[in-house]
Amino acid sequence: MDKWYKENPLEDNKAVAEMNAEIERMVEQSTKACDPETETDDCWVIDLRDKNFPSELL
């Protein structure tokens, strides 16, 4: 397990890092009240379905 993590560090995986960063941005945004000047009534949605671990780790 540790070996797998060492061989697959997060920083090497740009897309995963971006997705995590996007979730973090969303949560940080939620600490502010909605600003009608910059935000529409629409929702900001992040699909989480693709965040899977490989089966060999199960």
Partner: protein
């Protein structure tokens, strides 16, 4: 409640420490989902916890059948929402409480076979979390849901207190639900030495198993009902360090109803020294979990009445409040880094890291 045009509100499911959970229908699939609503603006003090919960839930949910799946994170003008799998069977607390009549007849709330069935699933999910360097830290019956299948599958939920670790598992925050918390978590010295989050989950797993069977907590804070007080923590800790779980007065009679196999397992779980406590991996190999029949003395069919004090956990506390979560910060974790993660599709075996943001806000 509004989560975008894809969801239609059905009913209120429950109120948690940070927000409410509602059942919705996903109009695209026709399936029911559970949506946790956190009101904006979120208190900044909760920022890191909620970030962690969303990230952990997103990463763990789709990898294991016994962990609640997270579908979407949604930010609306009024709320931050987490769209999750809906477990129709309710909580394990309610399921066990409904076994009151059976408990009067056989002396156990769930039979050892049924408890084994649930506990195996539960352990598998906990093992999966630990494998991915996530400790839950609030494992309990309330956070263990059931689906609508017969027999039901369990689903671990609420990763609000969960944490990842990088190189070392040691943590420093005193967190959890007192009746499920391990001695090292209760001990004030923890803020100096830290604790291994995996051992904390093992202890809580043992409590969960025992409550499934006997309907009672071995270590409780009856003198100090408010779980958020240091007095309640001290009361539980004093019981833990002064008596073995099977020698606590209100447990002594009930313990006789357990089979030797299960007592053996619990003896290895309720070990004060966390370094000598069994691991989840070791429990999975234990005789109790791998036997289809056991030498339970109750199988003689003798009608037994259960000890009245044993039912306090399930009768005095309503199902929604069984083991109220307490959070008592001693120090922040010294391990602030998230675990290293990478993903690939487990269906294709090839690395797949696509991500998608639909209908983004205009910013």
């Amino acid at each position: 409640m509004y989560v975008g045009e894809n969801y239609e509100q059905v009913k209120h499911l429950g109120k948690g420490g940070t927000g409410d959970t509602w059942a919705f229908i996903d109009k695209r699939s026709g399936e029911q989902v559970a949506i946790k609503f956190l009101k904006r603006p979120l208190p900044k003090v909760l920022l890191e916890n909620i970030k962690r919960e969303f990230l952990i839930q997103a990463e763990l949910g789709f990898g294991h059948e016994n962990v609640i799946k997270a579908y979407e994170a949604v930010l609306t003008p009024t709320h931050l929402c987490l769209v999750m799998e809906y477990a129709r069977g309710g909580s394990l607390t309610a399921y066990v409480a409904d076994k009151w009549k059976e408990a009067q007849q056989r002396g156990l709330f769930l039979s050892e076979d049924e408890a084994r069935f649930f506990f195996k699933q539960f352990l598998s999910a906990v093992n999966y979390c630990h494998h991915h360097r996530v400790v839950h830290r609030d494992l309990k019956l309330d956070n263990t849901l059931l689906d609508a299948a017969t027999p039901p599958a369990i689903k671990i939920c609420d990763f609000g207190f969960a944490k990842t670790w990088s190189e070392e598992a040691n943590m420093y925050t005193q967190i959890g639900t007192p009746v499920y918390m391990s001695p090292e978590l209760m001990n004030q010295a923890t803020k100096e030495k830290g604790y291994d989050g995996r051992s904390v989950d093992v202890w809580a797993s043992g409590i969960l198993l025992l409550v499934m069977l006997l309907g009672s907590f071995p270590f409780d804070h009856t003198e100090h009902p408010d779980p958020n007080t240091s007095e309640a923590h001290l009361e539980v800790w004093l019981q833990q360090v002064s008596k073995r779980w099977s020698e606590v007065p209100h447990m002594a009679e009930a313990v006789k109803k357990l089979s030797p196999e299960i007592k053996d397992l619990l003896n290895r779980i309720f070990v004060i020294d966390a370094s000598k406590r069994v691991t989840v991996q070791q429990i999975k190999r234990w005789v109790f979990l791998n036997s289809n029949s056991h030498s339970n003395s109750n199988s003689t069919g003798v009608r037994r009445s259960i000890c009245p004090t044993l039912t306090r956990a399930l009768l005095v506390r309503s199902p929604g409040t069984l083991g109220t979560t307490s959070r008592c910060r001693m120090a922040t974790s010294r391990s602030g880094t998230r675990s290293r993660r990478s993903r690939r599709s487990w269906t294709s075996g090839t690395r797949r890291t696509r991500w998608r943001i639909t209908r983004p806000w205009r910013r």
